[in-house]
Protein backbone atom coordinates (compact mmCIF):
# COMPACT_ATOMS: atom_id res chain seq x y z
CA UNK A 1 0.00 0.00 0.00
CA UNK A 2 1.37 3.39 -0.89
CA UNK A 3 2.58 5.83 1.70
CA UNK A 4 0.08 8.44 0.49
CA UNK A 5 -2.83 6.16 1.19
CA UNK A 6 -1.41 5.30 4.61
CA UNK A 7 -1.43 8.99 5.52
CA UNK A 8 -4.93 9.37 4.08
CA UNK A 9 -6.16 6.60 6.34
CA UNK A 10 -4.28 8.02 9.29
CA UNK A 11 -5.94 11.39 8.75
CA UNK A 12 -9.38 9.84 8.48
CA UNK A 13 -8.85 7.73 11.60
CA UNK A 14 -7.85 10.81 13.50
CA UNK A 15 -11.06 12.58 12.47
CA UNK A 16 -13.09 9.60 13.65
CA UNK A 17 -11.10 9.06 16.83
CA UNK A 18 -11.33 12.69 17.83
CA UNK A 19 -15.13 12.33 17.49
CA UNK A 20 -15.18 15.03 14.86
CA UNK A 21 -17.13 12.96 12.38
CA UNK A 22 -19.72 12.02 14.98
CA UNK A 23 -20.10 15.59 16.21
CA UNK A 24 -20.47 16.94 12.70
CA UNK A 25 -23.07 14.34 11.77
CA UNK A 26 -25.13 14.97 14.90
CA UNK A 27 -25.02 18.74 14.42
CA UNK A 28 -25.92 18.39 10.76
CA UNK A 29 -28.88 16.13 11.40
CA UNK A 30 -30.07 18.58 14.05
CA UNK A 31 -29.82 21.57 11.72
CA UNK A 32 -31.47 19.71 8.85
CA UNK A 33 -34.31 18.77 11.19
CA UNK A 34 -34.76 22.41 12.19
CA UNK A 35 -34.71 23.72 8.64
CA UNK A 36 -37.10 20.93 7.64
CA UNK A 37 -39.51 22.19 10.26
CA UNK A 38 -39.16 25.68 8.77
CA UNK A 39 -39.68 24.45 5.20
CA UNK A 40 -42.76 22.53 6.30
CA UNK A 41 -44.36 25.82 7.41
CA UNK A 42 -43.97 27.46 3.98
CA UNK A 43 -46.89 25.82 2.13
CA UNK A 44 -49.22 26.77 4.98
CA UNK A 45 -48.31 30.50 4.87
CA UNK A 46 -51.03 33.07 4.14
CA UNK A 47 -50.72 36.41 2.39
CA UNK A 48 -53.65 38.77 3.23
CA UNK A 49 -55.74 35.74 4.09
CA UNK A 50 -54.92 34.08 0.74
CA UNK A 51 -53.01 30.84 0.52
CA UNK A 52 -49.77 31.18 -1.44
CA UNK A 53 -49.76 30.08 -5.06
CA UNK A 54 -47.44 27.19 -6.01
CA UNK A 55 -45.22 29.75 -7.80
CA UNK A 56 -44.89 31.87 -4.68
CA UNK A 57 -44.13 28.79 -2.58
CA UNK A 58 -41.42 27.85 -5.02
CA UNK A 59 -39.82 31.28 -4.88
CA UNK A 60 -39.90 31.36 -1.07
CA UNK A 61 -38.59 27.81 -0.84
CA UNK A 62 -35.78 28.65 -3.25
CA UNK A 63 -34.82 31.74 -1.25
CA UNK A 64 -34.89 29.77 1.96
CA UNK A 65 -32.85 26.94 0.50
CA UNK A 66 -30.21 29.33 -0.81
CA UNK A 67 -30.02 30.93 2.62
CA UNK A 68 -29.64 27.56 4.33
CA UNK A 69 -27.04 26.53 1.78
CA UNK A 70 -25.16 29.75 2.35
CA UNK A 71 -25.05 28.92 6.03
CA UNK A 72 -23.92 25.42 5.15
CA UNK A 73 -21.20 26.65 2.82
CA UNK A 74 -19.98 28.95 5.57
CA UNK A 75 -19.84 26.10 8.09
CA UNK A 76 -18.20 23.82 5.54
CA UNK A 77 -15.54 26.39 4.69
CA UNK A 78 -14.74 27.04 8.35
CA UNK A 79 -14.65 23.32 9.07
CA UNK A 80 -12.26 22.78 6.17
CA UNK A 81 -10.04 25.62 7.40
CA UNK A 82 -9.97 24.32 10.96
CA UNK A 83 -9.25 20.76 9.84
CA UNK A 84 -6.53 21.70 7.39
CA UNK A 85 -4.76 24.25 9.58
CA UNK A 86 -3.21 21.66 11.92
CA UNK A 87 -2.90 18.95 9.26
CA UNK A 88 0.78 19.67 8.63
CA UNK A 89 1.62 22.37 11.17
CA UNK A 90 0.37 20.18 14.01
CA UNK A 91 2.84 17.42 13.16
CA UNK A 92 5.66 19.92 13.23
CA UNK A 93 4.51 21.61 16.42
CA UNK A 94 4.10 18.33 18.28
CA UNK A 95 7.24 16.73 16.88
CA UNK A 96 5.35 13.78 15.37
CA UNK A 97 6.81 14.77 11.99
CA UNK A 98 10.27 13.68 13.15
CA UNK A 99 9.20 10.08 13.58
CA UNK A 100 6.97 10.04 10.48
CA UNK A 101 9.46 11.53 8.04
CA UNK A 102 12.24 9.25 9.22
CA UNK A 103 10.24 6.51 7.48
CA UNK A 104 10.15 5.97 3.73
CA UNK A 105 7.67 8.80 3.35
CA UNK A 106 8.21 11.66 0.92
CA UNK A 107 7.06 15.17 1.74
CA UNK A 108 4.80 15.06 -1.31
CA UNK A 109 3.22 11.84 -0.07
CA UNK A 110 2.59 13.37 3.33
CA UNK A 111 0.99 16.39 1.69
CA UNK A 112 -1.17 14.42 -0.76
CA UNK A 113 -2.13 11.95 1.97
CA UNK A 114 -3.28 14.77 4.24
CA UNK A 115 -5.13 16.47 1.40
CA UNK A 116 -6.96 13.30 0.40
CA UNK A 117 -7.66 12.37 4.00
CA UNK A 118 -9.47 15.68 4.49
CA UNK A 119 -10.85 16.22 0.99
CA UNK A 120 -12.57 12.84 0.63
CA UNK A 121 -14.49 13.16 3.90
CA UNK A 122 -15.30 16.81 3.09
CA UNK A 123 -16.78 15.86 -0.28
CA UNK A 124 -18.66 12.90 1.18
CA UNK A 125 -20.02 15.06 3.98
CA UNK A 126 -21.11 17.77 1.55
CA UNK A 127 -22.85 15.28 -0.69
CA UNK A 128 -24.61 13.65 2.22
CA UNK A 129 -25.68 16.80 4.03
CA UNK A 130 -26.76 18.72 0.94
CA UNK A 131 -28.62 15.76 -0.54
CA UNK A 132 -30.45 15.35 2.75
CA UNK A 133 -31.36 19.03 2.82
CA UNK A 134 -32.57 18.90 -0.80
CA UNK A 135 -34.66 15.86 0.07
CA UNK A 136 -36.21 17.64 3.03
CA UNK A 137 -36.95 20.75 0.93
CA UNK A 138 -38.54 18.69 -1.78
CA UNK A 139 -40.58 16.60 0.62
CA UNK A 140 -41.93 19.63 2.52
CA UNK A 141 -42.34 22.21 -0.27
CA UNK A 142 -41.92 20.25 -3.50
CA UNK A 143 -39.02 22.52 -4.51
CA UNK A 144 -36.17 21.07 -6.52
CA UNK A 145 -33.21 23.31 -7.44
CA UNK A 146 -32.29 23.81 -11.06
CA UNK A 147 -29.14 21.63 -10.95
CA UNK A 148 -28.92 19.75 -7.65
CA UNK A 149 -25.82 17.77 -8.56
CA UNK A 150 -24.01 20.84 -9.81
CA UNK A 151 -24.96 22.63 -6.59
CA UNK A 152 -23.39 19.84 -4.51
CA UNK A 153 -20.28 19.88 -6.66
CA UNK A 154 -19.92 23.66 -6.42
CA UNK A 155 -20.38 23.65 -2.63
CA UNK A 156 -17.83 20.85 -2.27
CA UNK A 157 -15.45 22.74 -4.54
CA UNK A 158 -15.82 25.83 -2.36
CA UNK A 159 -14.80 23.77 0.67
CA UNK A 160 -11.91 22.16 -1.20
CA UNK A 161 -10.60 25.53 -2.35
CA UNK A 162 -10.33 26.77 1.23
CA UNK A 163 -9.02 23.39 2.40
CA UNK A 164 -6.24 23.49 -0.19
CA UNK A 165 -5.26 27.04 0.70
CA UNK A 166 -5.21 26.31 4.43
CA UNK A 167 -3.19 23.13 3.95
CA UNK A 168 -0.65 25.11 1.94
CA UNK A 169 -0.44 27.72 4.70
CA UNK A 170 -0.10 24.90 7.22
CA UNK A 171 3.16 23.80 5.62
CA UNK A 172 4.86 26.99 6.83
CA UNK A 173 2.75 28.70 9.46
CA UNK A 174 1.59 27.78 12.93
CA UNK A 175 -1.83 26.16 13.22
CA UNK A 176 -3.64 29.23 14.51
CA UNK A 177 -2.00 31.53 12.01
CA UNK A 178 -2.97 29.35 9.07
CA UNK A 179 -6.56 29.09 10.32
CA UNK A 180 -6.89 32.83 10.90
CA UNK A 181 -5.51 33.74 7.48
CA UNK A 182 -7.82 31.25 5.78
CA UNK A 183 -10.92 32.52 7.60
CA UNK A 184 -10.06 36.17 6.97
CA UNK A 185 -9.39 35.34 3.32
CA UNK A 186 -12.72 33.58 3.05
CA UNK A 187 -14.55 36.55 4.57
CA UNK A 188 -12.71 39.05 2.40
CA UNK A 189 -13.53 37.08 -0.75
CA UNK A 190 -17.20 36.98 0.20
CA UNK A 191 -17.30 40.74 0.62
CA UNK A 192 -15.26 41.21 -2.54
CA UNK A 193 -17.81 39.10 -4.38
CA UNK A 194 -20.70 41.26 -3.14
CA UNK A 195 -18.81 44.41 -4.08
CA UNK A 196 -18.21 43.00 -7.55
CA UNK A 197 -21.91 42.21 -7.93
CA UNK A 198 -22.84 45.76 -6.97
CA UNK A 199 -20.27 47.06 -9.40
CA UNK A 200 -22.04 45.17 -12.16
CA UNK A 201 -25.48 46.43 -11.14
CA UNK A 202 -24.29 50.02 -11.18
CA UNK A 203 -21.98 49.48 -14.15
CA UNK A 204 -18.98 50.62 -12.16
CA UNK A 205 -15.88 49.19 -13.78
CA UNK A 206 -13.53 49.62 -10.84
CA UNK A 207 -15.84 47.91 -8.35
CA UNK A 208 -16.63 45.12 -10.84
CA UNK A 209 -12.92 44.49 -11.10
CA UNK A 210 -12.80 43.90 -7.33
CA UNK A 211 -15.24 41.03 -7.85
CA UNK A 212 -13.23 39.56 -10.70
CA UNK A 213 -9.95 39.78 -8.80
CA UNK A 214 -11.65 38.23 -5.80
CA UNK A 215 -12.83 35.28 -7.86
CA UNK A 216 -9.34 34.73 -9.24
CA UNK A 217 -7.41 35.24 -6.02
CA UNK A 218 -9.31 32.73 -3.90
CA UNK A 219 -12.21 31.14 -5.77
CA UNK A 220 -14.41 30.46 -2.73
CA UNK A 221 -16.93 33.14 -3.61
CA UNK A 222 -16.72 32.16 -7.26
CA UNK A 223 -17.78 28.65 -6.31
CA UNK A 224 -20.50 29.98 -4.03
CA UNK A 225 -21.91 31.96 -7.00
CA UNK A 226 -21.85 28.78 -9.07
CA UNK A 227 -23.72 26.99 -6.29
CA UNK A 228 -26.27 29.81 -6.04
CA UNK A 229 -26.99 29.64 -9.75
CA UNK A 230 -27.54 25.89 -9.52
CA UNK A 231 -29.79 26.31 -6.49
CA UNK A 232 -32.15 28.85 -8.09
CA UNK A 233 -35.41 27.81 -9.72
CA UNK A 234 -35.40 27.56 -13.48
CA UNK A 235 -37.24 30.83 -14.17
CA UNK A 236 -35.55 32.80 -11.46
CA UNK A 237 -32.34 33.31 -13.37
CA UNK A 238 -34.14 34.92 -16.27
CA UNK A 239 -35.85 37.35 -13.87
CA UNK A 240 -32.61 38.02 -12.15
CA UNK A 241 -30.91 38.76 -15.42
CA UNK A 242 -33.80 41.06 -16.37
CA UNK A 243 -33.32 43.38 -13.40
CA UNK A 244 -29.65 42.55 -13.11
CA UNK A 245 -30.08 42.05 -9.38
CA UNK A 246 -27.02 40.12 -8.35
CA UNK A 247 -26.67 40.62 -4.61
CA UNK A 248 -25.17 38.24 -2.11
CA UNK A 249 -27.63 35.46 -2.76
CA UNK A 250 -28.35 35.65 -6.46
CA UNK A 251 -26.46 34.76 -9.58
CA UNK A 252 -27.46 35.68 -13.10
CA UNK A 253 -25.39 33.02 -14.81
CA UNK A 254 -23.45 29.87 -14.11
CA UNK A 255 -19.67 29.66 -14.19
CA UNK A 256 -17.99 29.48 -17.57
CA UNK A 257 -15.98 26.35 -18.43
CA UNK A 258 -12.89 28.56 -18.56
CA UNK A 259 -13.48 29.65 -14.98
CA UNK A 260 -13.98 26.04 -13.84
CA UNK A 261 -10.73 25.09 -15.53
CA UNK A 262 -9.06 28.02 -13.82
CA UNK A 263 -10.29 26.87 -10.41
CA UNK A 264 -8.88 23.39 -11.05
CA UNK A 265 -5.56 24.87 -12.10
CA UNK A 266 -5.62 27.19 -9.07
CA UNK A 267 -6.01 24.23 -6.71
CA UNK A 268 -3.21 22.30 -8.42
CA UNK A 269 -1.00 25.38 -8.37
CA UNK A 270 -1.57 25.97 -4.66
CA UNK A 271 -0.86 22.29 -3.93
CA UNK A 272 2.33 22.61 -5.95
CA UNK A 273 3.40 25.63 -3.92
CA UNK A 274 2.57 23.73 -0.75
CA UNK A 275 4.80 20.89 -1.91
CA UNK A 276 7.71 23.25 -2.61
CA UNK A 277 7.18 24.88 0.76
CA UNK A 278 7.04 21.58 2.63
CA UNK A 279 10.11 20.20 0.88
CA UNK A 280 12.12 23.09 2.21
CA UNK A 281 10.90 22.69 5.76
CA UNK A 282 12.88 20.73 8.29
CA UNK A 283 11.28 19.13 11.31
Amino acid sequence: MSATWTITRLTWHELVRRRLVLALLICTVGVIGLTGWGFAKVPGLHDHGQRLTPGEIRVIAAQLLILVMFMFSFVLALTCAFLAAPAIAGDWESGVALALLARPLRRGELLCGRWLGLALPAVAYTALAVALEFGVARWTTGYVPRQPVVAVAALAAEGLVLLTLTLALSTRLATVTAAVIAVVGFGAMWMGGIAGAFGQVFHNGAISTVGTVTHLLLPTDGMWRAATFALEPRLFAAQAAAHAGAGAFEAASGPTPAYLAFVGAWALGVLGLAWVSLRGREP
Binding site: A3, L10, A99, L101, A102, R103
Partner: protein, 309 residues
Protein backbone atom coordinates in the same frame (compact mmCIF):
# COMPACT_ATOMS: atom_id res chain seq x y z
CA UNK B 1 38.07 13.34 -6.20
CA UNK B 2 39.51 10.93 -3.72
CA UNK B 3 37.59 12.00 -0.65
CA UNK B 4 34.18 11.67 -2.20
CA UNK B 5 31.82 9.52 -0.17
CA UNK B 6 31.48 6.39 -2.22
CA UNK B 7 30.22 2.94 -1.42
CA UNK B 8 33.12 0.69 -0.55
CA UNK B 9 33.11 -2.69 -2.16
CA UNK B 10 31.43 -5.47 -0.25
CA UNK B 11 29.12 -4.61 2.60
CA UNK B 12 28.90 -0.87 2.96
CA UNK B 13 29.49 0.58 6.43
CA UNK B 14 26.41 1.53 8.41
CA UNK B 15 27.31 5.20 8.12
CA UNK B 16 30.03 6.94 6.18
CA UNK B 17 30.25 10.70 5.93
CA UNK B 18 32.70 13.11 4.37
CA UNK B 19 32.60 16.74 5.41
CA UNK B 20 28.92 16.65 6.22
CA UNK B 21 28.02 20.17 7.31
CA UNK B 22 24.93 22.13 8.24
CA UNK B 23 24.47 25.85 8.75
CA UNK B 24 21.34 27.58 9.99
CA UNK B 25 21.83 31.11 8.75
CA UNK B 26 25.12 32.19 10.26
CA UNK B 27 24.89 29.53 12.98
CA UNK B 28 27.11 26.55 12.22
CA UNK B 29 25.35 23.50 13.63
CA UNK B 30 27.75 20.94 12.14
CA UNK B 31 31.08 22.08 10.76
CA UNK B 32 32.08 19.08 8.68
CA UNK B 33 31.59 15.58 9.94
CA UNK B 34 33.87 12.90 8.56
CA UNK B 35 33.44 9.49 10.12
CA UNK B 36 32.71 5.87 9.44
CA UNK B 37 30.44 3.72 11.55
CA UNK B 38 31.00 0.03 10.84
CA UNK B 39 28.16 -2.44 10.79
CA UNK B 40 27.32 -4.52 13.80
CA UNK B 41 28.87 -2.18 16.36
CA UNK B 42 27.52 0.17 18.97
CA UNK B 43 28.84 3.60 18.07
CA UNK B 44 28.71 6.31 20.69
CA UNK B 45 28.34 9.87 19.48
CA UNK B 46 29.25 12.21 22.29
CA UNK B 47 29.35 15.90 22.72
CA UNK B 48 28.23 18.71 24.98
CA UNK B 49 24.91 20.53 24.53
CA UNK B 50 24.71 22.25 21.19
CA UNK B 51 27.65 20.31 19.76
CA UNK B 52 25.63 19.24 16.73
CA UNK B 53 24.72 15.66 17.63
CA UNK B 54 21.02 15.94 16.84
CA UNK B 55 21.81 17.93 13.71
CA UNK B 56 24.08 15.12 12.50
CA UNK B 57 21.34 12.56 13.10
CA UNK B 58 18.79 14.66 11.24
CA UNK B 59 21.12 14.94 8.28
CA UNK B 60 21.75 11.19 8.26
CA UNK B 61 18.03 10.44 8.29
CA UNK B 62 17.25 12.95 5.58
CA UNK B 63 15.15 15.06 7.94
CA UNK B 64 17.38 18.04 7.21
CA UNK B 65 19.42 18.78 4.13
CA UNK B 66 23.19 19.21 4.46
CA UNK B 67 24.64 22.58 3.50
CA UNK B 68 27.66 20.77 2.12
CA UNK B 69 29.41 17.44 2.25
CA UNK B 70 28.01 14.02 1.67
CA UNK B 71 27.24 10.82 3.41
CA UNK B 72 26.10 7.26 2.95
CA UNK B 73 23.69 5.40 5.19
CA UNK B 74 23.71 1.65 4.61
CA UNK B 75 25.29 2.39 1.26
CA UNK B 76 22.63 4.85 0.10
CA UNK B 77 23.21 8.60 -0.11
CA UNK B 78 21.77 10.60 2.79
CA UNK B 79 18.23 11.69 2.06
CA UNK B 80 17.45 8.49 0.14
CA UNK B 81 13.85 7.57 0.86
CA UNK B 82 13.93 3.81 0.42
CA UNK B 83 16.83 3.23 2.81
CA UNK B 84 14.82 4.70 5.67
CA UNK B 85 12.83 1.47 5.68
CA UNK B 86 15.98 -0.23 7.01
CA UNK B 87 16.76 2.36 9.67
CA UNK B 88 15.08 2.73 13.05
CA UNK B 89 15.05 6.12 14.76
CA UNK B 90 14.22 7.37 18.23
CA UNK B 91 14.19 11.16 18.08
CA UNK B 92 15.44 13.32 20.91
CA UNK B 93 11.95 14.82 21.05
CA UNK B 94 9.88 11.68 21.03
CA UNK B 95 6.25 12.40 20.32
CA UNK B 96 3.73 10.03 18.88
CA UNK B 97 0.06 10.50 17.99
CA UNK B 98 -1.62 10.80 21.39
CA UNK B 99 -4.98 9.65 20.09
CA UNK B 100 -3.58 6.33 18.86
CA UNK B 101 -3.07 3.16 20.81
CA UNK B 102 0.52 2.06 21.25
CA UNK B 103 -0.07 -0.91 18.93
CA UNK B 104 -1.51 1.36 16.28
CA UNK B 105 1.56 3.60 16.37
CA UNK B 106 3.76 0.56 15.83
CA UNK B 107 1.41 -0.66 13.09
CA UNK B 108 1.65 2.70 11.36
CA UNK B 109 5.42 2.52 11.33
CA UNK B 110 5.37 -1.06 10.04
CA UNK B 111 3.00 0.03 7.30
CA UNK B 112 5.17 3.00 6.36
CA UNK B 113 8.18 0.68 6.44
CA UNK B 114 6.49 -1.68 3.95
CA UNK B 115 6.66 -4.64 6.30
CA UNK B 116 4.53 -7.63 5.25
CA UNK B 117 1.21 -7.57 7.08
CA UNK B 118 1.25 -11.14 8.46
CA UNK B 119 4.37 -10.32 10.49
CA UNK B 120 2.86 -7.30 12.22
CA UNK B 121 1.13 -8.82 15.21
CA UNK B 122 4.17 -10.80 16.31
CA UNK B 123 6.53 -7.90 15.63
CA UNK B 124 4.38 -5.53 17.68
CA UNK B 125 4.10 -7.93 20.61
CA UNK B 126 7.82 -8.54 20.51
CA UNK B 127 8.69 -4.83 20.40
CA UNK B 128 6.31 -3.98 23.25
CA UNK B 129 7.74 -6.78 25.37
CA UNK B 130 11.31 -5.72 24.64
CA UNK B 131 10.74 -2.17 25.88
CA UNK B 132 8.68 -3.22 28.88
CA UNK B 133 5.30 -2.08 27.61
CA UNK B 134 3.70 -5.51 27.33
CA UNK B 135 0.12 -5.18 28.51
CA UNK B 136 -0.07 -1.47 27.65
CA UNK B 137 -0.35 -1.93 23.90
CA UNK B 138 -4.05 -1.15 23.80
CA UNK B 139 -3.75 2.08 25.78
CA UNK B 140 -3.78 5.47 24.17
CA UNK B 141 -0.38 7.07 23.88
CA UNK B 142 -1.68 10.25 25.54
CA UNK B 143 -2.22 8.27 28.73
CA UNK B 144 1.45 7.25 28.84
CA UNK B 145 3.97 8.81 31.18
CA UNK B 146 6.98 10.51 29.62
CA UNK B 147 9.21 7.52 30.23
CA UNK B 148 6.61 5.20 28.74
CA UNK B 149 6.46 7.40 25.67
CA UNK B 150 10.22 7.14 25.31
CA UNK B 151 9.93 3.38 25.65
CA UNK B 152 7.34 3.43 22.90
CA UNK B 153 9.75 5.49 20.82
CA UNK B 154 12.38 2.84 21.37
CA UNK B 155 9.90 0.19 20.24
CA UNK B 156 9.21 2.25 17.10
CA UNK B 157 12.96 2.40 16.45
CA UNK B 158 13.37 -1.37 16.89
CA UNK B 159 10.37 -2.59 14.99
CA UNK B 160 10.75 -4.06 11.53
CA UNK B 161 14.26 -5.45 12.15
CA UNK B 162 16.24 -2.40 11.00
CA UNK B 163 19.89 -2.82 10.02
CA UNK B 164 20.80 0.44 11.70
CA UNK B 165 19.18 1.93 14.79
CA UNK B 166 19.75 5.60 15.57
CA UNK B 167 18.98 6.55 19.16
CA UNK B 168 19.10 10.23 20.10
CA UNK B 169 19.48 10.29 23.87
CA UNK B 170 17.32 7.23 24.41
CA UNK B 171 17.33 7.35 28.19
CA UNK B 172 16.69 11.04 28.84
CA UNK B 173 13.30 10.30 30.40
CA UNK B 174 13.98 6.86 31.87
CA UNK B 175 14.37 5.67 35.44
CA UNK B 176 17.45 3.63 36.42
CA UNK B 177 15.67 0.39 35.60
CA UNK B 178 14.72 1.78 32.21
CA UNK B 179 18.32 2.83 31.55
CA UNK B 180 19.46 -0.64 32.39
CA UNK B 181 16.81 -2.09 30.08
CA UNK B 182 17.94 0.15 27.25
CA UNK B 183 21.51 -1.04 27.64
CA UNK B 184 20.24 -4.61 27.44
CA UNK B 185 18.27 -3.78 24.31
CA UNK B 186 21.31 -2.18 22.72
CA UNK B 187 23.49 -5.20 23.50
CA UNK B 188 20.88 -7.51 22.06
CA UNK B 189 20.73 -5.43 18.90
CA UNK B 190 24.49 -5.72 18.53
CA UNK B 191 24.32 -9.46 19.11
CA UNK B 192 21.98 -9.87 16.18
CA UNK B 193 24.25 -7.75 13.98
CA UNK B 194 22.41 -4.46 14.03
CA UNK B 195 24.51 -1.31 14.06
CA UNK B 196 23.54 1.14 16.78
CA UNK B 197 24.30 4.84 16.60
CA UNK B 198 23.93 6.14 20.13
CA UNK B 199 23.76 9.84 20.64
CA UNK B 200 24.35 10.75 24.22
CA UNK B 201 26.07 12.85 26.79
CA UNK B 202 25.60 10.28 29.53
CA UNK B 203 29.18 9.10 29.56
CA UNK B 204 28.82 6.19 31.93
CA UNK B 205 26.11 4.84 29.71
CA UNK B 206 28.25 5.17 26.61
CA UNK B 207 31.18 3.61 28.42
CA UNK B 208 29.10 0.58 29.27
CA UNK B 209 27.76 -0.26 25.82
CA UNK B 210 29.79 1.39 23.10
CA UNK B 211 32.49 -0.29 21.04
CA UNK B 212 33.55 2.85 19.26
CA UNK B 213 33.14 6.47 20.16
CA UNK B 214 33.35 9.82 18.45
CA UNK B 215 33.42 13.01 20.44
CA UNK B 216 32.24 16.18 18.77
CA UNK B 217 32.42 19.73 19.94
CA UNK B 218 31.15 22.87 18.28
CA UNK B 219 30.27 20.98 15.15
CA UNK B 220 33.49 19.06 14.58
CA UNK B 221 34.96 15.71 15.64
CA UNK B 222 37.64 16.16 18.32
CA UNK B 223 38.32 12.50 19.02
CA UNK B 224 37.33 9.19 17.47
CA UNK B 225 38.20 5.54 17.80
CA UNK B 226 37.60 2.32 19.72
CA UNK B 227 36.70 3.13 23.30
CA UNK B 228 39.88 1.52 24.68
CA UNK B 229 42.13 3.46 22.30
CA UNK B 230 40.34 6.70 22.92
CA UNK B 231 40.74 6.31 26.65
CA UNK B 232 44.43 5.54 26.02
CA UNK B 233 45.15 3.41 29.08
CA UNK B 234 45.16 4.68 32.60
CA UNK B 235 47.32 6.47 35.11
CA UNK B 236 49.83 4.79 37.43
CA UNK B 237 51.02 6.24 40.72
CA UNK B 238 53.94 4.73 42.56
CA UNK B 239 55.06 5.60 46.11
CA UNK B 240 58.73 4.83 46.37
CA UNK B 241 61.97 6.08 47.85
CA UNK B 242 65.67 5.71 47.11
CA UNK B 243 65.55 6.41 43.41
CA UNK B 244 68.96 7.50 42.12
CA UNK B 245 69.36 10.94 40.64
CA UNK B 246 68.83 10.83 36.87
CA UNK B 247 66.91 7.59 37.07
CA UNK B 248 63.75 9.33 35.87
CA UNK B 249 65.47 10.21 32.59
CA UNK B 250 66.20 6.53 32.02
CA UNK B 251 62.49 5.77 32.56
CA UNK B 252 61.46 8.00 29.63
CA UNK B 253 60.24 4.92 27.76
CA UNK B 254 57.17 4.93 30.04
CA UNK B 255 56.38 8.51 29.20
CA UNK B 256 56.95 11.66 31.22
CA UNK B 257 56.65 11.20 34.95
CA UNK B 258 55.48 13.76 37.43
CA UNK B 259 56.57 13.74 41.06
CA UNK B 260 54.60 15.07 44.01
CA UNK B 261 54.37 14.22 47.76
CA UNK B 262 56.55 11.16 47.42
CA UNK B 263 54.48 9.82 44.54
CA UNK B 264 55.59 9.38 40.96
CA UNK B 265 52.84 9.40 38.39
CA UNK B 266 52.61 8.32 34.73
CA UNK B 267 49.58 9.19 32.65
CA UNK B 268 48.25 7.20 29.73
CA UNK B 269 50.19 4.04 30.50
CA UNK B 270 48.91 0.72 29.23
CA UNK B 271 47.86 -1.78 31.88
CA UNK B 272 50.22 -4.44 30.59
CA UNK B 273 53.26 -2.25 31.11
CA UNK B 274 52.71 -1.66 34.84
CA UNK B 275 54.76 -4.74 35.97
CA UNK B 276 57.61 -3.67 33.65
CA UNK B 277 57.55 -0.21 35.13
CA UNK B 278 57.74 -1.56 38.68
CA UNK B 279 60.56 -3.94 37.70
CA UNK B 280 62.53 -1.06 36.20
CA UNK B 281 62.00 1.07 39.27
CA UNK B 282 63.30 -1.71 41.48
CA UNK B 283 66.24 -2.22 39.12
CA UNK B 284 67.02 1.48 39.45
CA UNK B 285 67.29 0.94 43.21
CA UNK B 286 63.88 2.21 44.28
CA UNK B 287 62.03 0.82 47.30
CA UNK B 288 58.40 0.50 46.20
CA UNK B 289 55.70 0.85 48.90
CA UNK B 290 52.52 1.25 46.91
CA UNK B 291 51.29 1.10 43.30
CA UNK B 292 47.94 2.65 42.29
CA UNK B 293 46.55 1.92 38.85
CA UNK B 294 43.55 3.97 37.75
CA UNK B 295 41.71 3.63 34.46
CA UNK B 296 41.01 6.96 32.75
CA UNK B 297 37.29 7.43 32.78
CA UNK B 298 35.49 8.54 29.69
CA UNK B 299 34.52 11.62 31.58
CA UNK B 300 38.14 12.60 32.18
CA UNK B 301 38.99 11.96 28.55
CA UNK B 302 35.90 13.81 27.41
CA UNK B 303 36.79 16.86 29.45
CA UNK B 304 40.38 16.70 28.15
CA UNK B 305 39.14 16.60 24.58
CA UNK B 306 36.78 19.49 25.13
CA UNK B 307 39.36 21.63 26.93
CA UNK B 308 40.00 24.73 24.80
CA UNK B 309 43.11 23.91 22.81
Amino acid sequence: MTDRASAPTGASPAIHTVGLAKRYGSQVALAGLTMTVPRGLVFGFLGPNGAGKTTAVKLLLGLARPTSGEGLVLGAPVGDVAVRGRVGYLPELFRYQGWMRAREVLGLHLRLGHQPRPTWAAAIDDALRTVGLAGRGDDRVQTFSKGMQQRLGLAVALIGRPELVVLDEPTSALDPVGRHDVRQVIRRLRDRGTAVFLNSHLLTEVEQVCDRVAVIDRGRVVGEGPLATLLGGGAVRVRCTGLEAGALERLQAFGPASAADGWLAWAGLDHERVPDLVARLVAEGARVYQVDVTQTTLEERFLQLLAPS
